[in-house]
Symmetry: C2
Subunit: 373 residues, 2 copies
């Protein structure tokens, strides 16, 4: 697809009980966001929340788009790091909102950034004056294929991540893949893991595309990027539509690779030793090995998953520096946190996963040992 | 009704889109709460949040009831004063929740207290792990007839009251009028104003009862108390059922007397010069005078309202210590806050109110001047 056509965009509808909104996926279509906002009449004040440094280019484009459409704007910033997902940041942001909204204004929070901005900002939108509308403008691959979709908002507590939050859908998700051009490579790769995960959960064609490409090829191809973002987004949308509030055991499927992934992240104190995506990649290998032990998946399909991860340059083993004791300790805590002891999301084949209760601890240990260097 | 019958209780259903829950109104029926909880299987851990001092008797009864029913309990306390409705209290409470809930537990927050406990605790329940169930056990008259019903939860910001919150319904509201026996008289009287307000909004029979009684008579009569609490609750339930999320302009009717009432509370810095109920009583007089100026209400019905308030010993005038300038300043701020400039809830007759836009400022001033001593 040539550069000339990159401003075209497609809308993916999200249909939920009593509400409906759209994910707009395009490349370079941010200049039209203000007009879309104006026409939908979501409000008359766009409060843009963004990262003070890294994502400023995207935020500038968003602000310019609102200005062109004569929508009043305000700019608020918060660092896009996990530390911002705290009760004190939330408190500060709510105070800033109270200071930004004049009489008679109908404010809308516009969240331009990665998962942190989306999680924190979505929660603030849900709480300010018992709820104002918000729009997601994800600027990282991880946010575009995963965190901006499904309405999960949260901040952390000292006792654990995402312990405070809401499930609250945005009015609109604006995904411009042009934002991804400037992403650091490791961050891009990390986001790609969630697309790979979505492919395993429900899209064999997407998996086929990811199998045939290198990360470099994907980064350079606007067409591939749009295909990957829109197909991965569709998988997530479909799951969320079936189980918005995570009460039916379906939404849990999105946690493929996350049980061990979270433990690994916790074991390295959420440091840069592993990005979220890298931890999920290794976690997906663990889940695949457990599925194999349980004979849920064929050897051929299991290999496709592990080889696919490896070929895209994702880690599939835990480095020697990580101590087993720390890892198993984190593991048991994580199991408690999810309150489903020994409950795992396991692949049956590429394109299908199951939620399995009562997985024997022995099998879990074997699978973990198989990824330890 | 004799004391023998006081453990009987009645259930008022609250029917909302997709959900339904009950208000249980009785006198002395708290010993049955644990059994109700157990049978409904709302969870397996009752975390009781209450005031460390004043309401301890009610909380002890609640705890005993859970213990008798073999429901695990935890006790958390927070002072039942407006200062507790802060982001920092919320943060502390969420940390305590994270520390109280062990693996595999299904916690339910049980809010034993007045409006502060209910508002803060309900919000914490809505946010902890993206929502756990909660139960209201209101112990003040104000909470029983008003704040425990309708799912409004909130904390304050330095910029204003209730600026952070959710509309989120409880699983159950347990109203035991026996708790009201030990209420200080001024607090009891203050709560009675909201029942009086509900009568004007939608219950002529309740109004008739309140017209014929003194506060002392009501306090001494378990039968009157139950009638008043259940009839006032029904009025509120009916309004909330029609407009749960305050999007249809119906729920606003519950703000009768509150436009001026809030301004008066703000003018005295929410000090004990006026309780909330006292401020709402004077605000109801102001609204009645505006309605009279607009010829929305007959002179006879307007008199019934003002005389009714006066006979129950509620203030119907603003004392000389309150400066007009401070009051008008607070007034204009409050109008902005509610974002409906010159929008008033006005009585048409006892049992019916209307929401009126574009009330002339001149009439508002006249009505306010009529209550200034």
């Amino acid at each position: 697809m040539g550069e000339k056509m990159t401003t075209a965009s497609q809308n993916i509808p999200v249909r939920l009980a009593g509400r409906r909104y759209a994910l707009s996926i395009g490349c370079g279509h941010t200049p039209s966001l203000g007009k879309t906002f104006k026409q939908a009449d979501w409000g008359n004040l766009a409060i843009v929340l963004t990262n003070p440094t890294i994502r400023s280019k995207a935020a500038r484009q968003v602000m310019a788009s609102f200005k062109k459409a004569r929508v009043a704007t305000q700019l608020l910033t918060v660092p896009d790091t996990e530390r911002s997902k705290s009760m004190s940041s939330l408190s500060r942001l709510l105070n800033q909102l109270a200071g930004s909204v004049g009489p008679g204004m109908r404010p809308v929070l516009v969240l331009v950034g990665g998962g942190v901005i989306g999680d924190l900002g979505g929660l603030a939108a849900g709480l300010y004056k018992r709820g104002i509308p918000y729009i997601q403008v994800p600027t990282t691959l991880l946010a575009q294929v995963d965190s901006s979709i499904g309405g999960k908002t949260a901040v952390d507590l000292p006792q654990g991540k995402n312990l405070v939050g809401l499930i609250l859908q945005p009015k609109y998700v604006h995904c411009d893949t042009a934002f991804l051009k400037t992403l650091p490579e490791r961050q891009f790769r990390s986001g790609l893991v969630e697309a790979f995960k979505s492919a395993i959960i429900g899209d064999t064609q997407l998996f086929g595309l990811l199998e045939r490409r290198s990360v470099e090829q994907i980064r350079k191809s606007p067409s591939d990027l749009r295909t990957i973002v829109s197909r991965a987004a569709r998988v997530k949308v479909k799951v969320v539509e079936l189980d918005e509030f995570e009460t039916k055991g379906i939404r849990m499927k999105l946690n493929l690779g996350h049980t061990f992934g979270h433990a690994l992240e916790a074991a390295v104190n959420y440091s840069s030793v592993y990005t979220h995506g890298e931890a999920v990649a290794i976690g997906t290998v663990v889940a695949t090995r457990i599925a194999r032990s349980l004979k849920l998946i064929s050897a051929g399909e299991a290999d496709r998953i592990v080889v696919g991860l490896d070929q895209l340059g994702f880690p599939i083993r835990v480095g020697r520096k990580i101590k087993r004791t720390v890892l198993y300790d984190a593991m048991s805590k994580d199991k408690k946190w999810t309150s489903g002891a020994h409950r795992w999301v396991l692949p049956r084949r590429v394109g299908q996963v199951v939620v399995k209760d009562g997985v024997p601890v022995r099998m879990v240990r074997q699978a973990i040992e198989s990824v330890m260097e």
